[in-house]
Symmetry: C2
Subunit: 461 residues, 2 copies
């Protein structure tokens, strides 16, 4: 009897199956240092749908678990290998199959890079909104599996809001087609949205039909600096209450600002004593954009902003966004980082930031607060010395205390990163035993042998 690796090589060709530990190790982890990972038996890189089906069938027969993986930009360990598994990497299914400008949709394979899709549809005057921070290297497949968000969400929603249908290889190797090419459709259960965000536990996504939007107008950008984080939080809550819907509303605290200024050697103009910066954009165009940004300006002024600056200069707006997007990598000037993604009701942002300040003091760790203020989805990011076991342990504790604080404020433990292998216990705490039972029954129904990513998101027992 041939071994599983031999069979995979026969099916996919020898170059598409990696077993050298030095190489497979680079497919064993994502970007979350806390999450456990194991050593895969092999890494399979099929380049077409029959190849994916062949891997699934071979692993099912051999009773070897499969961990599906995109680019590995995840922040929960969902794509981390488990011992003896096959890591099924979808990056070689990287074709943009179709762009249909007349019906505003695109059909893509999972390995397409988010940025490449954005660029390709932009040529047709179209817009694919989801823009996670890793958009220049993460794949659409990973975005679908985690239901990724980004800066766009305050106006345009998360990944699931841009998906019309999926092709998914199921645990028996069969190919399920969900959804449709029309913008509306209610035939049967919404299987599309069930697979989106299922983090590789229910099947392998091999194609997606995505809904596109018209390319928005060039954005106007507003920056407001506050000398107290509570004032910035209050401004966000008031903007929501006033009914303004900017296309972007981000917050950076003093630690984030300092890191970016040091890392990028740039002056973002927050000034001395600035505790928090709000960055807002409107892509409504013309007078509508001016109306929105004027309303936001007024609210920020009323909430005690020290400094207000609005620009319709694209380069300046882009520079501010670059600064915001650079926060995580900028924090590396201080050490390694761990980032949370709690999401709280928008009225509770100030309280969440205050909680992070308390945790930072208690645990004697630098915590930078940055995030998507417009939807209450915050990324408190803990900086630690990776060579110090003690600091790493305190960072781990702080990570959990931030989740705790988010739940206590009526929030969720994950706004856009997911559960993966790091927040399993937190999923149970958030959704309770009945929710867990329903999760397990759906998983058992679709993947009875627990083939896909076993133990990720939740354990079956």
């Amino acid at each position: 009897m041939i071994s599983l690796v031999e069979r995979l090589r026969a099916e996919l060709g020898p170059d598409a199956v990696l077993t050298d530990a030095d190489v497979t190790d680079s497919y064993a982890r994502d970007m979350m240092p806390l999450a456990p990972s194991g050593s895969p038996l092999a890494v399979a890189l099929p380049d077409d749908v029959p190849g994916v089906q062949a891997v699934v069938r071979a692993c099912a027969e051999a009773k070897v678990p499969i961990v599906p993986r995109g680019a590995g930009s995840g922040l929960t360990g969902a794509a981390n290998a488990i011992d003896g598994c096959v890591v099924l990497v979808t990056t070689k299914l990287d074709e943009i199959v179709e762009i249909d400008p007349d019906n505003r949709l695109a059909v893509v394979q999972p390995g397409v890079i988010n940025l490449d899709l954005r660029g390709a549809v932009e040529k047709h005057g179209l817009f694919y909104p989801p823009d996670p921070s890793s958009y220049d290297w993460c794949t659409i497949g990973g975005n679908l599996s985690t239901n990724a968000g980004g800066l766009c969400c305050v106006k345009y929603g998360v990944t699931t809001d841009s998906v019309l249908g999926l092709d998914v290889v199921l645990a028996d190797g069969s190919l399920l087609r969900t959804g449709r090419r029309t913008v509306k459709g209610v035939a049967g259960y919404d299987l599309t949205k069930l697979f989106i965000g299922s983090e590789g536990t229910l099947g392998v996504i091999t194609q997606a039909t995505l809904a596109l939007r018209p390319l928005p107008q060039a954005p106007g950008t507003l920056v407001a600096a506050f000398n107290a984080t509570e004032s910035a939080g209050a401004a966000v809550a008031r903007i929501v209450r006033e009914g303004v819907v900017p296309s972007l509303m981000e917050i950076m605290d003093a630690t984030s600002i300092a890191a970016v200024e040091e890392h990028l050697k740039m002056e973002i103009g927050a000034g001395k004593g600035c505790a928090a910066l709000l960055i807002c954009q409107s892509d409504a165009g013309g007078e509508a954009a001016r109306r929105e940004l004027t309303a936001i300006e007024q609210v920020c002024a009323d909430s005690g902003a020290d400094l207000l600056h609005t620009t319709y200069d694209l380069a300046e707006g882009r520079m501010l966004l670059t600064a915001r997007r650079a926060v995580l990598s900028a924090l590396e000037v201080y050490g390694a980082w761990l980032t949370d993604d709690v999401c709280v009701p928008r009225t509770r942002i100030g309280e969440l930031i205050a909680a992070c300040e308390r945790i930072s003091a208690d645990r004697r760790l630098r915590i930078a607060v940055v995030g998507h203020a417009g939807d209450g989805n915050m990324h408190p990011t803990i900086v630690y010395d990776p060579t110090s076991t003690d600091e790493f342990e305190r960072a781990h504790l702080a990570f959990g205390e931030i989740l705790e604080a988010g739940l206590a404020l009526g929030g969720t433990v994950t706004g856009e990163h997911g559960i993966g292998k790091i927040k399993r216990d937190w999923l149970e705490r958030e959704i309770g035993p009945i929710g867990m039972r329903v999760h397990r029954s759906i998983k058992a129904a679709l993947d009875p042998e627990n083939l896909f990513n076993p133990g990720s998101m939740f354990a079956m027992e």
Copy 2:
């Protein structure tokens, strides 16, 4: 041993359990004449969540199926009784539990009337978009169960796009809480969207947390008359391609216009020789609305519109919407009606209308085409004489031929009404055997005894 009816009376009180056939008959059908219906054993009207749980537990023990029901405005027979079932009516759970303007959300029970919710949130400057034609009498519970749409969808999506979380009574009587109160959240599978549109086959929705939007600006309205339906279809496709997103884009064909003019004794100004009317609105406000409507006007003129009229007068705009909304009831001047809700890619609307014209000629039946042109979701409506078996049979055949035409154009058999008891075979045709297997496995996982609405949407064997 006491009977099920005695037990229900003991649990809910005698007035909440109806068994008189004259009365229960009025709960046995929805608005779709084609769908089969049976005689219920009883109709239960609990007024709180423990009451719903008591009905579910009692029926589960007695192995008596439950058909959940809202107001009965559905158009697929999903809420139609089956012989010997208990119809569980949720109209008495009719409380708006909370409106939170600061976080733009509302918590409601399923029996709240769509119009009542709209009015209540409007007082806070907020907007609940889903507006099915029956919005003045349908319930939120029914809207959730069918994932209802309406005129708003072209800009604001369907019901599922406005829901943050649900409470659902499961087949064992336990209460599942899905989702959250935050605008983002990806903890676990998206159970909220799985239950939305499940047409009462997976559980009974007892509460929903709904996302609200800021109240839009007062709309500007444009009407364009075309002397050929293909020109109207071409105009819709070009508006989509140009990247304009109106807040409403409806189409009425000559039959619809004539019915409304006769029924409402009003002149909607289509003029002689008008084959189709497009009604578009923009709620973007001010200059943005003018820009959108001017762009649409230009496309309509280029596509051969004979008559173009744009108004910012609210009363006139409302009158045009009233005319559009009156089509179905207006058709009753000619006889009874059967309405389809096929949804096709927006470039194929002209072809769908042409197919309906052919079917109308072949089957010698008046077919009015009206619908949500902006998302390709059309309601070809067949008029027939209910006293003529022959006409009813031809109407039935025409109903199926329209579904066939929709599928052949790359569409779906249902854009917003659902499958229910009328389109079961069509669900299977649309999604295929693998899709059906997944549906059955999820149904079996969540409702192993097939307690909820058995045989609706699909049969288990």
